[in-house]
């Protein structure tokens, strides 16, 4: 159970821990990872031919080293430029006391997020979408369209760039208003979709703490009972007061948290093996430092800011399996697709990512991140539905099966990762009155589904 007492201990550590500059932290992290990969024989274990790991022994080895990395490094606090060190006892307690299931949502929309193991037959949950920019004029319609997909178990509201027509400037009162505004719009969309009890993952309009404080746990705001608060850290194994503000506020409101971070392939984490290690370490530390109820990890290849290449998928599979095989910790994975709506590439990227999450033991998936969330209004309900369908139906498949399919699908898009197709906007591939996709977009969806069925993914063709 998260407590203010523990939060105060962490805040104190952020004030008194070992001093380290931001640049020094990155270099120290990199050096430590390199040494550990070498010492434990984990260098060059990335298998370019097999993007989804099938070796439990390898995942276990990564877990042990990731655990050691968490203890040795701790978590860096950007604001104080000090390291929050965690003792072995604190880490073990945090893991032991973390929940293995979370009840989310209310009434008929209640779902239970449960810890899974690799190749588990229990279906993971699907939360959609993640991090999109949607203009005010279509915001409610789009969110309604997503929420009314029965396969969706929870909603991450998109970000509106404006509040009552004014730009939402971060760190200003506009952001504070935007938090409350997001709650209002979300309620409207969920009411229209007939899913008023759906779990929300909020507050999206919260780049600093203001949006969160303005929109969560206040009258008319997001309700702590049915909200899983998303807290995103600035980098792997790094925190900031922005994140810690949100943590203490959620604890005060008696709420639940999902704390996320991205491990950067090519960044300070180095190769895919290093990024897998940092995700494991960061995952464990989120429970000890932020008292998370659930972790959200993501592997991002900094060369093209995506996660669906071979390196990203492999690192994700290792990190996810390592944690799932060795703990009961809850996670909701994030994977960054780059192609836009109404493209085959988006569905190929999504299929690989969903097969990976599901067979590697992820409890849930948060996404898609259509078009890398780069283009306004470039997300539609159809790919949210597609991701949920593939994610759920592949529960019980083996990693070997998933890997064989991924090997056939990745070559269809990997050459386009550096220059992915933008696709079409919500307006251009949906009928705004009926909330139905255009024949073109529906045709692409059905074509890829047929391909997946032919490859052995147990989807329903409809």
């Amino acid at each position: 159970m998260a407590s203010i007492e523990r939060a105060l201990q962490i805040l104190d550590k952020a004030q008194t821990g070992p001093i380290c500059t931001t640049k020094g932290w990155g270099l120290k992290l990199s050096k430590t990872i390199t040494e550990k990969l070498k010492k434990y024989g984990l260098e060059k274990t990335f298998d370019t031919e097999n993007p989804i790991n099938t070796d439990d022994g390898l995942a276990d080895r990564f877990y042990k080293v990731g655990y050691e990395l968490a203890l040795e490094m701790g978590m860096f606090c950007q604001d104080t430029e000090r390291i929050i060190k965690v003792t072995e006892e604190e880490l073990a307690d945090a893991i032991r006391n973390a929940p293995s299931e979370l009840v989310l949502g209310k009434g008929k929309d209640t779902v239970v997020l449960k810890s899974r193991k690799p190749e588990d037959k229990l279906q993971p949950l699907s939360f959609s979408p993640m991090g999109h920019l949607i203009s005010e004029d279509v915001w409610v319609r789009l969110v309604q369209g997503i929420a009314q997909q029965p396969e969706i178990d929870g909603l991450r509201s998109p970000v509106s760039p404006t509040v009552f027509g004014r730009p939402v400037l971060a760190d200003t009162p506009y952001e504070t208003i935007a938090g409350r505004y997001e709650a209002q719009l979300t309620k409207e969309a969920l009411w229209r979709a007939g899913r008023t009890g759906l779990c929300t993952l909020s507050v999206a309009s919260s780049p600093t703490a203001y949006g969160h404080l303005g929109g969560y746990g206040i009258p008319g705001g997001f309700d702590p009972e049915s909200t899983l608060v998303i807290i995103l850290c600035p980098a792997e194994m790094t925190t900031a007061y922005t994140a810690l503000h949100k943590v203490v506020h959620v604890i005060s409101c008696g709420g639940k948290t999902y704390v996320g971070d991205a491990s950067m392939i090519g960044g300070y984490s180095g190769p895919p093996e290093g990024a897998a290690l940092t995700q494991i370490a960061a995952n464990l530390l989120q429970f000890a430092v932020h008292q998370a109820d659930c972790h959200g990890g993501e592997e991002l290849d900094v060369r093209y800011s995506g996660g669906c290449g071979r390196e990203g998928q492999w690192a994700e599979s290792i990190a996810c399996q390592a944690i799932r095989l060795n703990t009961h910790l809850l996670n909701i994975n994030v994977m960054n697709q780059l192609a836009g709506p109404s493209t085959e590439m988006l569905l190929y990227e999504s299929a690989v990512a969903m097969l990976n999450v599901s067979t590697s033991g992820g409890a849930g998936y948060l996404g898609p991140r259509t078009s890398g969330t780069k283009y306004a209004n470039h997300i539609t309900p159809l790919e949210c539905k597609f991701c949920a369908e593939v994610l759920k139906c592949s529960a019980g498949m083996t990693r070997k099966q998933a890997n064989e399919i991924a090997k056939l699908l990745i070559p269809k898009y990997e050459n386009m990762l550096w220059d992915p197709p933008i696709g079409k906007s919500f307006r251009d591939c949906y009928d705004m009155n009926t909330l139905r996709p255009t024949q073109e977009w529906l045709g692409i969806y059905l074509k890829i589904k047929r391909e997946l069925i032919d490859l052995g993914v147990p989807l329903n063709y409809s």
Binding site: T22, K23, G26, L27, S30, K31, Q78, L133, V159, P161, P167, V168, L169, A170, D171, E175, A178, S205, P207, T208, G211, P234, A235, A240, T242, M264, I265, G266, G267, Y268, S269, G270, P271, P272, G274, V302, R303, Y304, S305, E311, G372, T373, K374, Y375, A376, W418, D419
Partner: protein, 230 residues
């Protein structure tokens, strides 16, 4: 040691990210009477290019880029006093002030671009994260930068990119700097709307972008931003 051997040795110190050795080899180059400009292009930058290529193949990572950049700085500190004013103008790629805008605490993308720019010979002034609008301008004035590079990882913080540009325009300073924007949610459309001079999707692209702006001779502000989308 022959000139070619010394060039190879200098390139190796850059690849290894060895600041001390880079400075020492640069001293040897001066003592041997080799043109420092040649040493920079045939030794230092060659080493940086190799590290950049390795990064693209995931054989080198951000820390190696940072260390190579630091080694290049150490080499330049020795070579620069031996270059005359005209040559200094030739080799100077220009100053770039870079930072992650206000309200945004993401650092990796900005670090990567800053490092790539250093590795390409630019004099980079990194203001860090959560940088207020006026701070960019004050620093650019102070160091007489040619380019302001604004990073944002969040839509709500990207507005501060436009605020920097608007401030420059309203203060009558827009023609003093090229302003380039980047970050995960940043698109060519936003670059146009914000009134930026350029946008690049990747860190490698950002370097190409800045080089292009400074070599094409079109003065800021550009009527349309230069877009490097790959």
């Amino acid at each position: 040691m022959s000139k070619e051997e010394l060039m190879g040795k200098l390139a190796k110190t850059i690849i290894d990210g060895d600041e001390q050795a880079a400075g020492a080899v640069a001293q040897e180059i001066i003592a041997a009477g080799i043109d420092p400009l040649e040493a920079i292009s045939q030794g230092g930058r060659k080493g940086l290019d190799i590290v950049g290529e390795r990064f693209q193949r995931l054989e080198a990572f951000l820390p190696e880029l940072v260390q190579a950049g630091d080694a290049m700085k150490a080499c330049m500190a020795v070579l620069k006093p031996h270059i005359n004013q005209q040559q200094t103008t030739e080799i100077s790629q220009g100053g770039v002030v870079i930072g992650t805008v206000k309200g945004d605490i993401h650092t990796i993308g900005k670090d990567l671009v800053a490092t790539m720019l250093i590795a390409s010979g630019f004099e980079v002034h990194d203001l860090g994260i959560n940088v207020p609008v006026k701070r960019f301008i004050e620093e650019s004035e102070k160091v007489q930068a040619k380019v302001i590079a604004l990073s944002a990882l969040l839509t709500q913080t990207s507005y501060y990119q436009k605020q920097v540009i608007d401030y420059l325009r309203d203060a009558g300073m827009r023609n003093r700097y090229y302003v380039v924007v980047g970050g995960a949610p940043i698109s060519p459309e936003w670059a146009t709307e914000a009134g930026a001079d350029g946008y690049a999707r990747t860190a490698v692209g950002a370097t190409q972008l800045v080089k292009r702006l400074l070599t094409e001779g079109v003065l800021p502000p550009l009527s349309q931003p230069v877009i490097i989308n790959q």
